[in-house]
């Protein structure tokens, strides 16, 4: 079967799940909470006891905490070449020593451990910004298509199809190249562009499914205008699967950032470190000091693993099928 069709189907399915689920939480006043549990509450009840989710949550929370308090945790700042006087042509990367347990990074004599800790913040910023930008683009397109339908829908979805038709990293690479002058922001845009069609399709599917659902029909019968219906009813009810997707996308964003850096398309300015960039630039030192590649790689793997665990268990929890 056609791969692209599958890609679309997969996204649509996720959207339907949410729309189906949202029927459970109509205007709460009408259906009294007679044993019927809201989706979120029931999901949380199951998640609380799911070790997979808890591990993912722990990794993620730890990562976010480190990122927030990075300047307090890092023993040194990330820019000063403390060990620069030890850098010589014969020993370009000074090793671990008192006060600098992981040694220096590259030929610049900066403290690797501090840069790893500080890097968590930049990594989080890149991941979150890329996801948010992708989400924003997706929300705009998806809402347009889902709320209006008709020719707006056709035009928007053709555009989305063109974007989906390119392999994702290829699209990111193209966009990164197209900026001409690489920076942290071009990197973020390049990664987020890939996410736009996914979010757009997801939202549109879930909104289409809701257009025929009871609470929307009821609101329309009561004479509520299209705008309020879209923003008060349809959009909030579509956010479940979008958030799940966002969690998963955060992980891929961080990995994609590393890939772009490896290809030389990342942010060339390394004054504020980021793990993907550190890993991409470490390729020059792969033989001399493999630890320069190992540590950022390990950090990326752990964090991506955490986000994926959390996202996957959220997806399962929200899936009505597994609620049996």
């Amino acid at each position: 079967m056609n791969p692209m069709q599958r890609k679309k189907d997969r996204i649509d399915k996720l959207a339907e799940q949410a729309a189906g689920a949202s029927a459970d939480v109509p205007d709460a006043g009408k259906v009294a909470d007679t044993g019927g549990v809201s989706l979120i509450a029931s999901a949380w009840r199951r998640l609380r006891r799911n070790p997979v989710f808890l591990v993912g949550l722990a990794v993620t929370v730890l990562f976010v905490l480190i990122a927030i308090f990075a300047p307090l945790l890092a023993p040194h700042n990330g820019q000063t070449g403390y060990l620069l006087n030890q850098v010589t042509p014969n020993d370009p990367v000074p090793g671990g020593q008192d006060g600098f347990p992981l040694g220096a990074d590259g030929q610049t004599g900066r403290d690797l451990l501090s840069r790893l800790i500080l890097g968590s913040r930049q990594t989080l910023i890149v991941g979150v910004c890329a996801t948010l930008a992708g989400l924003a683009g997706g929300v705009v397109l998806g809402t347009l298509a889902g709320a209006f339908g008709g020719w707006v829908d056709t035009v928007v979805m053709r555009l989305v199809d063109v974007m989906l038709s390119l392999p994702s990293l290829l699209l990111a690479i193209s966009v990164a190249t197209l900026f001409g002058r690489p920076s942290q922001w071009t990197l973020i845009v390049a990664i987020s562009v890939v996410q736009v069609p996914i979010f757009a399709r997801l939202l549109r599917g879930s909104m289409l499914a809701q257009r025929a659902s009871d609470h929307v029909l009821a609101a329309r019968a009561l004479g509520v205008k299209r705008g309020p219906i879209t923003f008060r009813h349809m959009l909030p009810n579509s956010l479940g699967p979008v958030l799940v997707q966002a969690t998963l996308v955060l992980a891929t964003s961080i990995i994609d950032a590393a890939a772009l850096s490896f290809l030389g398309l990342g942010n060339p300015d390394d004054s504020s470190p980021e793990w993907g960039q550190m890993l991409g630039k470490a390729q020059d030192y792969f033989d001399v000091a493999p630890r320069l590649a190992f540590w950022p790689a390990a950090c990326i793997v752990v964090v991506a693993f955490g986000f994926t665990l959390m996202g996957e268990s959220l997806r399962e929890a929200l899936d009505p099928k597994t609620r049996r």
Binding site: G81, T88, P89, Q107, P182, S183, P268, D284, Y285
Partner: protein, 556 residues
């Protein structure tokens, strides 16, 4: 069980494979047979190249990857003494200029044949020059080296080359429009190699076309290069990215080839080349990353070339008026800790530059001392100029490494930190090398930028002339009050016939440039390296990257 369907499929595939194999037969040639006669010279050298050769005809090339292949296949009238940039006899055994320096008479080596059997003689030399001079519109753009060095085609106004006459079979007279220091050294460049006139004609070597935004090369440049060199072209396997050369058993030069086969494997990624060497799939590669030098010295055979390049920081006062003041330019220079930069970011053997050329070039002024790192003096100069706390945009390239600049971003960071320490605000401007950096800096659009140069041959003009002979060029020297005189001095020096007077003149110019003009800041010269595995010896590293790979001795 559902075994029947897969079984049927397997049978079908096997059957169709058998049918196909009936029409596909092995065309393998046993090419080890040819080299058997000469004892232990049966060896193959596998060399890792960073890129595919752009063309097999060096005349249309301007890149090192192409020239490395050409240098094994072709010879020029002149050549270079192995391991130096000194001009040495090659296909011409001697040469004498007329007293006005405009007519050069070359005595040719006799009894030399191209590998297709065509004799090499005065007639062949003149046919080569005629061929190079008579280019069509596309060829005039593709033959970058002729254009830059000869200045035109078909007798155009200002063209350096004026004609070639065969005096007798072994004597050739070449006329040039004006005396210049680069003659005859430039005839040793691979671009001006002697190629077989028969093959040039037969495979329509001059039929180059500009089509579809690129150059479409004729059959000659694609598959039929013929020279007099120690190796000859065998095949270019484009799907496997390998170029194979085999020994020319009739090579007439002094250094006979000691290998039977030379294979270039194209491996674009630097780390991948190093790993291929460690694993033994290649026997050597060019320009190893300086970071790897210590480990390569230990496990392999690292050959370090004499430094024949210069890294400089270009300044353009037309873009940033602050730079009009000599004191500001000097302050920027004093503020850079070049000793530290050379020690931490450049390979061992790199040195701080005192002028716009490396030590070995004639015209290098030994008396010049480097601007010592002196942040206090830099601050003082800045305040004298009334520019304390000034800001500057510093450009640096990405997606590139150059022999003179192994890690552009790190060099940028070091300079930025130094400048910030004396209170200058630095705005970074990274641009991809081919994504605007080269055009913008060379067109004089960058205020301060990292750039460099590797010498083509040993003349001062090849360095100073490249940077400053165009008054509107990269550093806009014409805009300074002393600019016009400077440009004229350079042109005069280049056309001086007497070598010692010329050298003295260049030494004086170098002194002026560094003490009175300072249009840019020379940073350093770095020795590039070439590396072979422990079992390969016998290749002399050359400052011009003119390595004779055919002299390699490969131990089994």
């Amino acid at each position: 069980m559902a075994v029947t369907k897969p079984t049927a499929a397997v049978v079908l595939i096997a059957a169709s494979a058998l049918t196909l194999s009936a029409c596909a037969s092995s065309k393998r040639s046993d090419n080890n047979a040819s080299g058997g006669a000469k004892g232990n010279t049966n060896a193959t050298l596998n060399f890792g190249a960073a890129g595919a050769p752009a063309t097999l005809d060096p005349f249309y090339a301007s890149d090192g990857e192409t020239f490395r292949v050409s240098r094994q296949i072709f010879q020029g009238l002149t050549g270079f003494k192995p391991g130096t940039a000194e001009v040495a006899p090659a296909l011409a055994t001697s040469w004498t200029p007329s007293s006005d320096g405009k007519t050069w008479t070359f005595k040719l080596k006799t009894g030399v044949k191209f590998t297709d059997g065509t004799p090499f003689n005065a007639d062949a030399v003149c046919k080569n020059f005629k061929r190079m001079d008579s280019q069509n519109a596309a060829g005039q753009q593709a033959s970058e080296y002729w254009l830059t060095n000869m200045g035109g085609y078909n007798g155009a106004k200002g063209e350096l080359y004026q004609g070639c006459t065969a005096k007798d079979d072994a004597t050739v007279e070449i006329k040039i429009a004006r005396p210049t220091s680069k003659f005859p050294a430039l005839l040793g460049l691979p671009a001006f190699s002697m190629q077989s006139p028969t093959a040039l004609d037969k495979y329509k070597a001059n039929d180059i076309k500009a089509q579809g935004e690129g150059f479409v090369y004729p059959a000659y440049a694609n598959a039929h290069p013929v020279g007099t060199g120690p190796m000859k072209f065998q095949s270019y396997d484009k799907t496997n990215k390998t170029v194979t050369l085999v020994r020319n058993d009739d090579y007439a030069g002094d250094e006979k080839p000691t290998i039977a086969k030379l294979v270039f494997q194209i491996i674009p990624d630097e780390t991948a080349r190093k790993q291929a060497l460690s694993a033994g799939t290649i026997d050597g590669y060019d320009l190893p990353n300086p970071v790897d030098w210590p480990s390569l010295k230990k496990d392999d055979n690292l050959e370090i070339r004499p430094a024949f390049n210069i890294l400089y920081l270009g300044l353009n006062s037309q873009v940033d008026p602050n730079l009009k003041d000599l004191k500001v330019r000097q302050a920027l220079y004093y503020a850079i800790n070049r000793d530290q930069l050379v020690k931490s970011l450049l390979p061992s053997g790199a040195s701080v530059a005192t002028q716009f050329m490396p030590k070995t070039v004639a015209g290098y002024n030994d008396s010049l001392q480097p601007y010592k790192y002196d942040p206090a003096k830099a601050k003082q100069l800045l305040s004298e100029a009334g520019k304390s706390g000034m800001s500057i945009t510093l450009w640096y390239p990405t997606e590139v490494t150059r022999p003179y600049m192994p890690a552009p971003d790190k060099i940028f960071n070091a300079i930025k930190a130094n400048w910030e320490a004396v209170g200058i605000k630095v705005t970074p401007k990274p641009l991809p090398w081919a994504g605007g950096y080269v055009t913008q800096t060379q067109n004089g659009k960058a205020s301060a930028y990292l750039m460099g140069w590797t010498g083509d041959y040993d003349t001062p003009d090849n360095f100073l002339g490249s940077f400053f002979s165009d008054p509107k060029g990269q550093m806009s020297v014409g805009a300074y009050p002393w600019g016009a005189k400077f440009v004229k001095d350079l042109a005069d020096a280049d056309s001086m016939v007497d070598e010692s007077a010329r050298t003295a003149k260049y030494e004086q110019i170098n002194k002026q440039v560094m003490e009175q003009y300072l249009p840019g800041l020379p940073i350093s010269s770095s020795p590039p390296a070439i590396v072979f595995s422990k079992k390969v010896t016998g290749v002399t590293p050359s400052p011009l990257t003119d390595e004779h790979l055919w002299t390699a001795k490969v131990d089994k």
